[in-house]
């Protein structure tokens, strides 16, 4: 008690919370007495002492409903909150039970000295806290399956209980918490401050500073009513002793009395095999992603969801109760049918060649593997033979192993596409390290978010990437692509350079290769359709991507390949292709010129050319600069692919004229499934000509490519994709795809992953389906037509409206260059608004003239409430073609309700 003020030793009876706290139903409040032995530390009393707890418990309510409970969730709050934190879970679980869903008993305790439980006046260290909880559950005579649910320091206590009650334990659930403090990393700064001499007692007990600081961590801020509810049990210093006690119990050094118990719990957690759920708020100054990573390492089977934007008070920031009940429902369903297979197991694993196989096969070949037209070293072009690439990959792989990179470690690659990236990528794959790849096009903020989310153990990058990593505090051991002067290396916290690794790995001794179902990569989505998501692929699934490209486009050993589209470019060596990186700023595809393409083609006698849509535009624009020899070079191209977003037929026609022997293709895919359908220019023309009158329209993306399958989950009248997956033509719905090369799952986004597999996971044995979030239909020829994105579907009083078809028809109006369809008003009664760019660009935003408005209305059968003219439609920077119609709708709603005429 020495470090806390005298007020902390004041004893007081337990009581019920005051009435009227928002969201807290008094009927769930109970006082429970239990005998607990208090020993060790200052709480050394020989005989058991009877203490009184305040708890929230829906057990009596469930009994009144006459329902049988399927299990108990034991919720333990942290410091300085109380059982109020769990109020929505208690209420929602009870409401669910009342409406016929499985009945979960929720018990949320106020730990002793906290909330409205008894003030013992003693310091209760971690071992005592764990014993306290056991004493309480003994008194409650819990017998059924029990799942623990803890937050903050309550997470540790709940896991202590979990480790001690294997006979009752059915699962563990956690909100932001930690069970281990790495020796290598300091404890979080806010806690260091709170623990400082002279600060502890003042900050935690004498004043409500610690409490107030915690309550200020909510995103968005808590209402004053909710804040007052959290303050209710801690109004005076005498009520706050427990807060100080908890902070004093944080094991700051090896001598701390609670450290042993913490280690015992941490070790016990690593041995747990029960289902686990972690709901995490990344904006937490205390329990940052570092601790999540530790927990995931201890329980790799856990379902994890990071709620982007949520923080320490995740229970207030997001609807954690629904998420938890959904998870509980899934567990309930899973145990009643068949045991859940291991996370990585999904049917038979096909026998595909490992990604590095060609590097082994061609280890002695002097043939060209890679060409970099403008390498970062300056002298170009840089030509790398298979022999050299193969050796470098083995050396780097061996060096990485010796530098401590293990199988399953995540390695973030912040390297521009080119020879270095290719070598490092294949080296990581070979040793089973998981590569984390996020496109620099995400911008620094998006990239930081992605890297923090994936929490790599190692970062390999060039100077710009490493500087960002240093400045923004990205995690992981740092490895540089070039050797820095010692001072720079120290400043950037760089432990190794690639050259060091090559030296280290000179003996080319390699660890065992990973298995096909081991995780190979986390690829981040472009972020054009929401915050970037990490997409997890296994080795076999990546091999399947290569296989699909090979079988669809005939790319194989010796094929010359211009790699202007990063995701496919990296697969060059896996395909055995001779690939060339053209002269361009990789993060800005529109810097690629026609001449640069022609030179790249000439460098490897390319027959296949991959470009991103933005690059296509610029290549066409710069075509007049092509020389006669350039044209000759381009004649060798037989396949041209534009991937990433649809390209218009006129643009495709324009680029086709530069490559008279090439078949232009536009594949349809996404980070979660890189090649799903394909269509050629000729097929686009045919499809457009044969589209039946009155069809929903859209962009035709052709027929399923390679082994992919495409189904439609029909939209209902509310615009929800609830239909049974079907290939019936003419039905508009969410597009769902399956192939050996679709993603395994989303990284640390359990809810998102669950939604992406909703009601299709079981379709076909061993088949992995992915809901794309795109809307479209199949036609009678089996071709897929894209009508927009799911969030862009409008629900009007007359039915569903998908945007792309009406936009195409509006764009047939001569005066209109580009159109976007947005919606205003409540879903179900939305009005359709056309937002248009005119051929003669408007100088300011305004209503269309009556003539233009009636031309727009005449062009489409969809009723249009208003036509707004804008100088420029906002588009996604990376693709320069994807329009964020949700944002546009919000903007239009402002103007059409009488708001200011701002730019979108």
């Amino acid at each position: 008690m020495s470090r806390l003020p005298r007020a902390a030793s004041v004893a007081a009876e337990a009581s019920h919370p005051p009435a009227g706290l928002p969201g807290l139903d008094p009927k769930f409040s109970r006082l429970v007495r239990a005998a607990v032995s208090e020993r060790g530390g200052e709480a050394d009393v020989s005989a058991p002492v009877t203490r009184t707890w305040h708890i929230l418990d829906n057990g009596p309510e469930l009994a009144k409903l006459g329902v049988e409970t399927v299990g108990t969730v034991l919720c333990v709050h942290g410091n300085p909150t109380w059982s109020y934190l769990w109020r929505s879970l208690v209420s929602e679980a009870t409401a669910d039970a009342a409406t016929g869903h499985p009945a979960w008993r929720i018990i949320a305790v106020d730990q002793l000295d906290m909330g409205f439980s008894e003030r013992s006046g003693l310091v209760r260290a971690l071992p005592q806290r764990v014993r306290d909880l056991s004493a309480l559950t003994d008194a409650l005579e819990l017998d059924g399956p029990v799942l623990t649910f803890g937050h903050d320091w309550g997470g540790v206590v709940s896991l202590g209980w979990a480790v001690d009650h294997p006979e009752l334990l059915a699962g563990v659930m956690l909100l932001n918490t930690a069970v281990h403090q790495s020796e290598a990393a300091p404890i979080p700064a806010p806690l260091r401050l709170a623990l400082a001499r002279g600060v502890l007692g003042n900050a935690t007990v004498a004043t409500p500073a610690f409490l107030e600081t915690t309550l200020a961590l909510a995103h968005p801020p808590l209402s004053s009513e909710v804040k007052n509810a959290y303050r209710a049990p801690y109004r005076t210093a005498a009520r706050r002793g427990g807060i100080g006690g908890f902070v004093a119990d944080i094991p700051v050094d090896a001598q701390h009395p609670s450290l042993g118990e913490l280690h015992r719990i941490a070790a016990g957690v690593s041995a747990l095999s029960v289902p686990a759920l972690m709901l995490w708020g990344p904006r937490d100054p205390i329990f940052s992603d570092r601790y999540l990573d530790d927990l995931v390492e201890r329980m790799p089977h856990a379902d994890v969801h990071r709620f982007e934007g949520a923080g320490h008070l995740i229970a207030e920031d997001v609807d954690f109760a629904s998420a938890a009940l959904t998870w509980l429902g899934d567990r309930q369903g899973a145990t009643s049918t068949s045991p859940n297979p291991d996370s990585a197991g999904h049917g038979s694993v096909a026998l595909r060649a490992p990604l590095w196989q060609n590097l082994d096969v061609m280890r002695d070949s002097d043939d060209v593997a890679l060409v970099e037209m403008v390498p970062s070293s300056g002298d170009g072009p840089r030509v790398v033979s298979w022999k050299l690439l193969s050796r470098r990959v083995r050396q780097i792989a061996s060096g990485l192993s010796k530098a401590g990179v293990k199988k399953g470690d995540r390695v973030s690659l912040l390297i521009q596409p080119g020879a270095d990236l290719t070598a490092v990528l294949y080296a990581c794959l070979r040793i089973g390290a998981i590569v984390v790849v996020a496109d620099a096009g995400l911008g620094l903020r998006g990239l930081t978010r992605a890297v923090r989310g994936a929490w790599p153990a190692h970062v390999i990058g060039a100077a710009p990437g490493l500087m960002a990593a240093r400045a923004l505090g990205w995690p992981g051991q740092k490895i540089s692509t070039v050797r820095f002067p010692a001072a720079t290396a120290r400043a950037l916290d760089v432990q190794h350079s690639l050259a060091d690794l090559i030296e280290l790995g000179a003996d080319e001794v390699l660890p065992e290769a990973p298995r096909p179902d081991d995780t190979a990569a986390v690829l981040f989505t472009s972020g054009s359709t929401g915050p970037a998501k990490g997409v997890v692929y296994t080795h076999d699934q990546l091999s399947a991507v290569a296989e699909a490209l090979s079988s669809k486009y005939g790319i194989g050993v010796g094929t010359g390949l211009v790699a202007g589209f990063a995701p496919f470019a990296l697969l060059g060596p896996a395909l055995g292709a001779r690939s060339v990186t053209p002269d361009m700023v990789v993060t800005s595809p529109k810097t690629l010129t026609a001449t640069a393409v022609a030179q790249a083609v000439a460098a490897v006698d390319a027959t296949v050319l991959f470009l991103s849509p933005a690059a296509v535009t610029n290549v066409v624009a710069t075509a007049p600069e092509l020389s006669a020899p350039d044209y000759v070079a381009l004649r060798s191209v037989t396949s041209f692919l534009s991937a990433g977003a649809p390209v218009s037929e006129p643009l495709l026609t324009a680029i086709a004229t530069l490559m008279p022997n090439a078949t232009p293709h536009t594949p349809y895919g996404m980070t979660e499934g890189l090649l799903m359908t394909d269509i050629t220019l000729a097929e686009i023309r045919e499809a457009t000509a044969s589209a039946p009158e009155g069809s929903a329209g859209g962009v035709c993306v052709g027929t399923p490519a390679a082994t992919a399958r495409v189904r439609i989950s029909a939209l209902d009248v509310n615009g929800d994709a609830v239909g049974e997956p079907s290939d019936t033509p003419g039905i508009t719905g969410e597009i769902i795809v399956s192939a050996p090369h679709v993603k395994d799952h989303y990284d640390r986004l359990w809810l998102t992953d669950r939604a992406s597999k909703r009601e299709v996971a079981s379709t076909g044995a061993g088949e992995r389906w992915h809901r794309t979030g795109d809307v479209g239909h199949l036609d009678s020829a089996g071709r897929l037509w894209i009508e927009g994105r799911m969030p862009h579907v409008l629900v009007t009083a007359n039915g569903i409206v998908t945007p792309v078809g009406p936009e195409q028809r509006i764009e047939t109006v001569a005066a209109i260059a580009r159109a976007a369809v947005a919606g205003v008003g409540p879903r179900g009664n939305q009005q359709v608004v056309a937002v248009v760019e005119t051929v003669r660009s408007a100088r300011r935003v305004g209503l269309a003239s009556p003539e233009l408005a009636s031309a727009v209305r005449a062009a489409t059968s969809v009723p249009i409430a208003a036509v707004l003219v804008v100088p420029h439609l906002p588009t996604d920077i990376r693709h320069n073609s994807k329009i964020d119609r949700v944002r546009l709708s919000t903007w239009a709603a402002g103007i059409l309700s009488g708001g200011r005429m701002t730019r979108p």
Partner: protein, 327 residues
């Protein structure tokens, strides 16, 4: 069925009386001046009198099975006591007379302004009438009248309220004629940028909607329904459509919405002291009406009344143009 239609001297009243008579009912109209329909429309006769006179009202309701009550003081300015006398007292007296005469059905023609507090209405359904929140004497007294009428709903007397929004069409002296006249005089400004989405209803649709409410009153009594064309348009487009139909130039000058609202308040209070021959050019109510969105959810209306508008806005504008050409 014998149906009494009050207030059949106005555009909407005449259209409703004609519509109901056309459906085969015997119609008695009741207003101070001849409707102009008596002897022209079959099965229709005029009864002259005022809703403010109890004897007139008793005479009017005698022997009818149903009432469609449109008679009201519709104006943007005037003595508040006049509004109360006609709209509130008149409705109260009609309800009393209907009860004592054993009339079984009553359709009250109300206005969406009874539930409009001045903020935007974006796709909402009919809210409850609220005299406290309503803007201006017209809306306030119509709100009170609607509450009175719905309170009188009972097994013996089925009452339903319908609220047509911004009725317009050929022969309209309330809205179209004023818009056109002011545009012709160059006195019609656009408030703000004129993009606020506004619902309106073409006269024939309003008449058929009210007739539908009468036909369905036994099933839907006790409720209020907003009636619109279900085709919201930016207010500038709507005004331009009317002007184009009349062959006059659409308003080209703008007044900031906030300024118009403030100016409206001033003019409104001055007008009260020194009433002129015309309505005030701008009232606060009108400024709000013309610068904020108000469009509605018609799904419940259409489903409950089993009614859909048969004339689109574009067809309506064509008919309006034809009527101006015929002048």
């Amino acid at each position: 069925m014998r149906v009494l239609v009050t207030g059949a001297s106005g555009l909407l009243g005449r259209a409703v009386a004609t519509e109901i008579a056309g459906q085969g009912h015997d119609v008695r109209t009741f207003q101070r001046r001849p409707s102009g329909l008596g002897g022209v429309v079959p099965r229709l006769s005029d009864e002259l009198g005022s809703v403010t006179n109890a004897d007139d009202v008793a005479r009017a309701v005698d022997g009818v099975d149903a009432i469609v009550h449109l008679a009201a003081k519709v104006s943007l300015a005037g003595d508040p006591a006049d509004f109360d006398r006609v709209n509130v007292d008149g409705t109260r007296s009609l309800l009393a007379a209907a009860r004592s005469a054993g009339v079984a059905r009553l359709v009250l023609v109300s206005s969406p302004s009874v539930a409009h507090s001045g903020s935007s209405i974006v796709g909402d359904d009919a809210g409850p009438a609220d005299p406290e929140q309503a803007r201006g004497d017209y809306a306030r007294t119509k709100a009170t009248a609607e509450l009175l009428a719905l309170a009188a709903d009972s097994p013996a007397l089925h009452v339903v309220a319908v609220r047509p929004h911004l009725v317009w069409g050929p022969g309209d002296t309330q809205l179209v004629a004023r818009v056109v006249q002011r545009a012709r005089d160059g006195r019609l400004p656009l408030l703000g940028h004129g993009a606020a989405l506004i619902d309106s209803i073409y006269i024939d649709n309003a008449a058929s909607g009210i007739a539908a409410a009468l036909a369905r009153v036994d099933e839907v009594h006790g409720n209020s329904y907003v009636l619109t064309n279900g085709e919201p348009r930016p207010v500038a487009e709507l005004l331009a459509g009317m002007c184009a139909a009349a062959g006059v130039k659409a308003p080209g000058w703008r007044v900031p919405a906030a300024l118009a609202r403030a100016a409206g308040s001033v003019i409104e209070s001055v007008w009260r002291i020194a009433p002129g021959s015309d309505e005030p050019p701008m009232t606060r109510f009108l400024a709000e009406q013309l610068s904020t969105a108000h469009w509605f959810d018609q799904r419940r209306t259409r489903a409950d009344l089993r009614w859909t508008p048969s004339v689109t806005l574009d067809e309506g504008f064509e008919r309006l143009a034809a009527s101006y050409r015929a002048e």
